[in-house]
C-alpha cells in the first residue's frame, strides 16, 4: 500500500482534504443474518450514503418453479423465507386451488390457520430474540428460543418438520392431526404466552433499549406506502393494513383479527408491533384450536390426481406472511408446471426502504435500523 496523499499545508482547516471512508457491512457480518451486503460511505461514524447489494443468495426460485410440478413447487416455495415456511406454502396452494376451483375441507382450512398463526409466532420470536442481540443484549434470544422450542415441538408432532414443514398439499393437508394434539397446542400456547411476558419484562422497559430505538430510523407512513412496505414494519408506521382483516383468505373472515399498529414508525414501534403481534397470534391460534375441536370429524384433504394439471388461466394469491405481504402470481397454460409463478416476497420490498432510513444515522443506529427491518436474506434474494 503506497498510496500517497497530498494535504495542503497552511491553507487552514477548511481546505484540509478529508476523505470519506467506505465500509462494507457484509456479505459476512453478524448483523446481516446471512449474506446481505451494505456498502456504507462514512464521515466519521455518520453514514452519508448506503447502497444495499443484494443477490448473494439468489437461487433462481421463480425460474425453478417453471420446471417443477405443483407438489415440487411447495418444496421450493417453502424455502425463500425459512422462518415462515408454512405461510409460504399456503400462498402457493391457495393460488393453485383457486385455479383448480377446489374447495378445501373445513377442517383443513382451520388447521391451516392454526398452523399459520403458530408459524407467525415462531417467526416473531426469532426476531424478538435476535434484535436485542444486535443492540448488545445477549440474553433475550435464549428466552425466545426456549419458547420457540415449545412451539416447534407441537409443529413437529403434527408435520414432522421443525423448519420446513411441507404439510400443505393442493386440496388440503398431508396428514390428519395426531390424537390429542389440540390439547398439547393449547398447553404450548399457554406456555409461550407466559414466556413471552418474561421476554417483555427483560427488554421492553429497558432504558438503554429505548435510548437506542426511540426516534431512530423513523419511517413515515407515506414513505412506507411508496416503497410497498408491508407487515409489522408498515403497521408500526401507522399503515393499518393486514390482509387477514382487509382481504381475508382461509376463514379469517370469521375471526375478529385485531391489527396491531403504532404511529411512531421508529425502531421501538417496530419491535413493539412484533411483540404485541405475538400475543394476538397466540389468541388466534387458541381460537382456531377451539374451533377445530368443535368441528365434526371429516376429511382433511380432497383427493387430487397425482398428475395435477392446472387449467389455463392466471390468478394472484396473497397472504399476510409474518414479515409482510407475500404474493404469488400464477399463470398456467394447462400444463403440469406453471408457465410463470411470480413471487412477491415481503422482505424484498421492506429492505428497499432501509437506505432511506440509514442516511445521516450513526453506524450503531444503522445496526438498530437494519435489525428492525426484520428481514430474511433468502426472502430478499429469492
Amino acid at each position: 500500500m503506497t498510496t500517497e496523499r497530498t494535504v495542503a499545508i497552511g491553507s487552514g482547516a477548511a481546505e484540509l482534504a478529508t476523505e470519506d471512508m467506505v465500509l462494507n457491512i457484509g456479505p459476512q457480518h453478524p448483523a446481516t443474518h446471512g449474506v446481505l451486503r451494505l456498502r456504507l460511505t462514512l464521515d466519521g461514524e455518520r453514514i452519508t450514503e448506503v447502497e444495499p447489494i443484494v443477490g448473494y443468495m439468489h437461487r433462481g426460485a421463480e425460474k425453478l418453479f417453471e420446471v417443477r410440478d405443483y407438489r415440487q413447487i411447495l418444496v421450493l416455495a417453502n424455502r425463500h423465507d425459512w422462518l415462515s415456511a408454512f405461510a409460504n406454502e399456503l400462498g402457493v396452494v391457495l393460488a393453485v386451488e383457486r385455479l383448480l376451483d377446489i374447495e378445501v375441507p373445513v377442517r383443513a382450512v382451520w388447521t391451516r390457520m392454526l398452523l399459520a398463526e403458530l408459524n407467525r409466532v415462531l417467526n416473531h420470536l426469532m426476531f424478538l430474540g435476535s434484535y436485542p442481540i444486535e443492540l448488545g443484549a445477549i440474553t433475550p434470544i435464549f428466552y425466545a428460543f426456549r419458547e420457540r422450542e415449545a412451539l416447534q415441538q407441537v409443529m413437529e408432532e403434527a408435520t414432522g418438520g421443525r423448519m420446513h414443514y411441507m404439510f400443505n398439499r393442493v386440496g388440503g393437508l398431508r396428514d390428519d392431526l395426531p390424537a390429542g394434539w389440540l390439547d398439547r397446542v393449547r398447553r404450548a400456547v399457554a406456555e409461550v404466552r407466559a414466556g413471552t411476558a418474561q421476554i417483555e419484562n427483560l427488554i421492553r422497559g429497558n432504558e438503554i433499549f429505548h435510548a437506542r430505538t426511540r426516534g431512530v430510523g423513523v419511517l413515515a407512513a407515506s414513505v412506507a406506502a411508496q416503497y410497498g412496505v408491508s407487515g409489522p414494519i408498515a403497521r408500526a408506521s401507522g399503515l393499518d393494513f393486514d390482509l387477514r382483516r382487509d382481504e381475508p383468505y382461509l376463514a379469517y373472515d370469521e375471526l375478529d383479527v385485531p391489527v396491531v399498529t403504532r404511529t411512531a414508525g421508529d425502531c421501538l414501534a417496530r419491535f413493539e408491533c412484533l411483540l404485541d403481534q405475538v400475543g394476538v397470534s397466540l389468541n388466534l391460534a387458541e381460537t382456531c384450536a377451539d374451533r377445530l375441536a368443535a368441528l365434526p370429524p371429516g376429511p382433511i384433504s380432497v383427493r387430487t390426481p397425482k398428475n395435477l394439471k392446472v387449467p389455463e388461466g392466471h390468478t394472484y394469491a396473497w397472504t399476510e406472511n409474518p414479515l409482510g405481504v407475500n404474493g404469488y402470481y400464477l399463470v398456467s397454460r394447462g400444463e403440469r408446471t406453471p408457465w410463470r409463478l411470480k413471487l412477491r416476497s415481503a422482505s424484498f420490498n421492506n429492505i428497499q426502504v432501509a437506505p432511506d432510513l440509514m442516511r445521516g444515522a450513526l453506524v450503531a443506529d444503522m445496526i438498530a435500523i437494519l435489525g428492525s427491518m426484520f428481514f430474511v436474506v433468502g426472502d430478499i434474494d429469492k
Binding site: 448483523a31 452519508t48 374447495e103 443492540l135 448488545g136 445477549i138 435464549f142 428466552y143 435510548a211 445521516g360
Partner: protein
C-alpha cells in the same frame, strides 16, 4: 510501628520476587477463572449450562481455550504496520499487570520469617499509578486498531480513545473525593483510613461515579463500544489471532480485576473484614492472612456485577455514552467535590456550632435549587449533522403517493353453528371471477 511503605522497603530481593510472581500468577489465574465464571453465570442467566466438559465443572475450559489459541496460526494482514501491530497487544497487557503492584492485598504478615506487608510497593502516589496504567493500556487498543489497516478496527480504536479520555476524567474525579477524605494517595493509607467506616456509604456519589466509569474504562458491556461485535465484528481485535488475540483477552480480564480491586480498596475497606466478622475477638480476622479472603471476596462481588451487567443490558450508542460521561458523571463529580471540600472546611473550623453548619448547608441547597429552576428548558435543537435524502442513483418510487385510508374493520355477527356453517372462503369465491377473466 513502621508504616507499610517502610515495611515494604525492608523487603529483601527474594521476597519481592516472590511477591511479583504471586501477583502475576494471581492475575493469570483470575483471568482463567473469570472467563469460566462469566460463561457459567451468563449461561445460568440464559437457561443453559455453560462450559462443563473440561475438568471439574468445566473449570479447565479457559485453560484449554488458551492452549488452543497458542497453537493457532498467527495472522498478520498485509497492510498492517508490522511493528505497531506486534507491539499493541503487549502494550495493552503489561500495564494491566503493572497496576496490581500497588494494590494492598492484606496487612502486615510474617512471610518466611520476614515481617512484611501483602503489597508489592506502596507509593505515595499509588492511586495515580493505577490511573496511569489503565490509560497506558488504551494505547494498545488504539494502536492495534490503527495498525491493523482495516476499517472495523480503526472505528473500534477511535471509539476506545474517546471513551477512555472521557471516562478517565470521571474516574479521576470520583477518586478525588476519596483522597479529600483520606488525605493520602497511597493505597495502604486509604485502606487504613477506612477503619472507622467504609467509603461506599460515606462517599456514595463518588462510589456510584466510580462504579459506572470503571465499566466504561474496561470496555465492558453495556459500554463495550470498541468491540461491539454486532456492529464492528470484533472491533479493535478483528484482525488479531493466536497469542496476540489471547493477550488482548488477558488484558481485558486483568483490567477488570484491577478496577474491581481498586474499587474494593477505595470504597469497600480493602482487606478489612465486613462488619459482623470484624467485631469477632477484637478484630482477629483483620490480621494475618485472613484479609486476603475478604479482599478477594469483595473483588469477586464487583466482578460478578460486571458479568451481571453483561447478561442484562443492551449496548449504549457512542454519543449517548459520551453524553453520560461528560454531561452527567463529570458535573456530578465536580459538585460533589465542592461539597466535600466545603464540609471538610466547616467541620475543621473551630467555633462553628452544628446549627450554623446546617444553616450554611440549607442556604447552599436553596441556592442550587433556584439555579436549577432558572435554567432554561431543554430546547429541541436542529440537527446540523442531518444529511438530506439524496437518492443513490436508484429509481425512487413516486413520492406523491398518499397513504391509503385504513379500511373499516369488518365485524361479523357470531356464526350460529360453526359446524353447520357452509364453508365458502373468500378465496374460493373469488376464484370463479378470476379464472373467468384469466382465459385470455
Amino acid at each position: 510501628m513502621k508504616t507499610t511503605a517502610e515495611l515494604i522497603a525492608d523487603d529483601p530481593l527474594w521476597l519481592s520476587i516472590i511477591k511479583v510472581v504471586a501477583i502475576f500468577a494471581f492475575g493469570v489465574v483470575m483471568t482463567l477463572f473469570m472467563i469460566w465464571l462469566e460463561r457459567r453465570v451468563v449461561g445460568r442467566m440464559q437457561h443453559r449450562p455453560g462450559p462443563n466438559r473440561v475438568g471439574p465443572f468445566g473449570l479447565l475450559q479457559s485453560l484449554a481455550d488458551g492452549l488452543k489459541l497458542a497453537f493457532k496460526e498467527d495472522i498478520r494482514p498485509v497492510v498492517a504496520d508490522k511493528w505497531v501491530y506486534f507491539l499493541a497487544p503487549i502494550i495493552s497487557a503489561i500495564p494491566a499487570f503493572l497496576a496490581f503492584s500497588v494494590i494492598p492485598f492484606g496487612p502486615d504478615v510474617t512471610m518466611f520469617g520476614h515481617h512484611t506487608a501483602l503489597q508489592l510497593v506502596d507509593l505515595p502516589v499509588g492511586v495515580l499509578v493505577i490511573l496511569a496504567c489503565s490509560s497506558l493500556g488504551v494505547y494498545g487498543i488504539v494502536l492495534s486498531g490503527w495498525a491493523s489497516g482495516s476499517p472495523y478496527p480503526l472505528l473500534g480504536s477511535l471509539r476506545s480513545a474517546a471513551q477512555v479520555i472521557s471516562y478517565e476524567i470521571a474516574m479521576g474525579l470520583s477518586i478525588v473525593g476519596v483522597i479529600l477524605r483520606s488525605h493520602s494517595l497511597s493505597t495502604s493509607d486509604i485502606v487504613n483510613a477506612q477503619e472507622g467506616g467504609w467509603y461506599f456509604w460515606l462517599l456514595p456519589v463518588s462510589f456510584v461515579v466510580y462504579a459506572i466509569s470503571m465499566v466504561g474504562e474496561t470496555n465492558r458491556a453495556p459500554f463495550d463500544l470498541p468491540e461491539a461485535e454486532s456492529e464492528l465484528v470484533g472491533g479493535f481485535h478483528t484482525e488479531y489471532s493466536s497469542l496476540k488475540f489471547a493477550l488482548f483477552f488477558l488484558a481485558e480480564y486483568v483490567n477488570m480485576v484491577v478496577v474491581s480491586a481498586l474499587a474494593t480498596t477505595l470504597f469497600l475497606g480493602g482487606w478489612r473484614a465486613p462488619w459482623p466478622l470484624s467485631a469477632i475477638d477484637g478484630g482477629v480476622l483483620n490480621t494475618g492472612w485472613w484479609p486476603i479472603l475478604w479482599f478477594v471476596g469483595k473483588t469477586f462481588f464487583f466482578l460478578f456485577v460486571f458479568v451481571w451487567l453483561r447478561g442484562t443490558l443492551p449496548r449504549l450508542r457512542y454519543d449517548q455514552f459520551m453524553r453520560l460521561g461528560w454531561k452527567v458523571l463529570v458535573p456530578v463529580s465536580l459538585v460533589w467535590i465542592v461539597l466535600i471540600a466545603a464540609s471538610n472546611a466547616l467541620w475543621n473550623t473551630p467555633g462553628v456550632t452544628t446549627g450554623q453548619r446546617l444553616i450554611f448547608f440549607g442556604v447552599g441547597i436553596v441556592v442550587l435549587l433556584v439555579f436549577a429552576l432558572l435554567l432554561p428548558d431543554k430546547r429541541v435543537a436542529d440537527d446540523e449533522e442531518f444529511v438530506p435524502v439524496t437518492g443513490s442513483g436508484y429509481p425512487l418510487p413516486p413520492l406523491d403517493l398518499s397513504v391509503p385510508k385504513s379500511p373499516p374493520r369488518r365485524r361479523l355477527p357470531a356464526a350460529p353453528e360453526p359446524a353447520e356453517r357452509e364453508m365458502e372462503p373468500a378465496a374460493v369465491a373469488a376464484a370463479d371471477k378470476e379464472t373467468g377473466d384469466g382465459s385470455l
